[in-house]
Amino acid sequence: MSIRIQIFAVCGSLAISAFIFELIRKRKMLEKYSLLWFCAAVVLIVLSLWRNLLEKTAALLGVYYAPTALFIIAAFFAMLMFLHFTVVISRLSEQNKNLAQEVGILQEELRGLRRSSGQTE
């Protein structure tokens, strides 16, 4: 692995970690959603600093050119992230639907109460 690609990899991973940290600090990202991002950044930093480990990992994966393994691992994390988002979005949709139903029902109940107590709407 050339030193240039290693520098790029380390800088990239560090930049992502710093950016995530900043997002959490400014409360633009909840901690519970940041865990996976941090794991990804840490793994990528370790692998780009520790050449020997990356080369062994690459050999284990059957990849001849070690930096490619870095991409594969990054892609794997991206995939995990998408799955995670889909799960989160599904949960939010369900909650959103329940809230909408609740609002509709409560409005109609309120209307009924107001009418029976003789108030104008």
Partner: protein
């Protein structure tokens, strides 16, 4: 003794101002002691106002949830207000309120928890476009296999539920094209289904929610959902 005295008719409606008044009037005038709640699923016309003017209660959803979310809203309302039976009927005038006794009968005799109004039982002949007919045959075959009971009209939105089924569906009602899926979920969770032959009308006005162009997409999507449903776990129906 007829124990199922509190009866609510749930009418999901989307932009049905031209049909909804008549539908509500027919239900209230049926002499069956029915209450009506119209679920306005984000209509942009005067559906809610017209329904109220004709004497229905109206739940206006803040935005469109789709037919599944709308029907489920009605079921939640029915459950909370202590109804013994909820009857689902389309807001487009396709279903005839005078046929409701056919749906109530199997519930009253305690033969079933859920009654489905079927166009295809009995001697009725409906002209159905080829794709829809194909879909119905497939749903019928797949659902029969999964619940061990033949349902002829899986896409029928003319149904009656007893209180136990209402409670279950409040927590588990499918979303997009819910009718065939609901059959499988109910059947596999120990609810007894029964079909009753009913007459249906051609739509009064407006457009059906399923055009023939969407039929293929509809079939694939629903079949996929049904297959997945088989592997889902549900808390034991109470």
């Amino acid at each position: 003794m007829d124990e199922l005295r509190k009866r609510l008719v749930i009418v999901p409606a989307l932009n049905e101002e031209s049909n909804i008044g008549q539908v509500v009037e027919d239900i209230l005038g049926s002499g069956l002691g029915l209450d009506v709640v119209v679920i306005d699923d984000g209509s942009r016309d005067r559906t809610a106002e017209v329904a109220r003017a004709h004497g229905a209660r109206v739940i206006k959803l803040p935005f469109n949830l789709g037919i599944g979310g709308a029907v489920q809203t009605g079921l939640k309302f029915a459950f909370r207000h202590g109804y013994d039976v909820a009857i689902q009927i389309d807001g487009d005038g396709q279903h005839v309120p005078s046929e409701i006794p056919h749906l109530l009968a199997p519930l009253q005799s305690r033969e079933a928890d859920v009654a489905i109004g079927s166009r295809y039982l009995g001697a009725h002949h409906y002209r159905t476009p080829f794709m829809r007919r194909l879909g119905m045959v497939i749903f019928s075959a797949v659902n029969s296999m999964l619940i061990g009971q033949r349902i002829t009209d899986n896409t029928s939105g003319f149904r009656a539920f007893n209180r136990r089924a209402i409670g279950f569906l409040c927590a588990h009602y499918p979303s997009d094209y819910p009718e065939p899926e609901a059959v499988v979920i109910l059947g596999r969770n120990g609810f007894r289904l029964k079909e009753s032959a009913v007459k249906m009308r051609q739509r009064l006005a407006g457009e059906s929610s399923i055009s023939s162009l969407h039929a293929a997409y509809y079939m694939v999507k629903v079949l996929l959902a049904i297959v997945v449903d088989v592997f889902k776990t549900y808390p034991k129906a109470g």
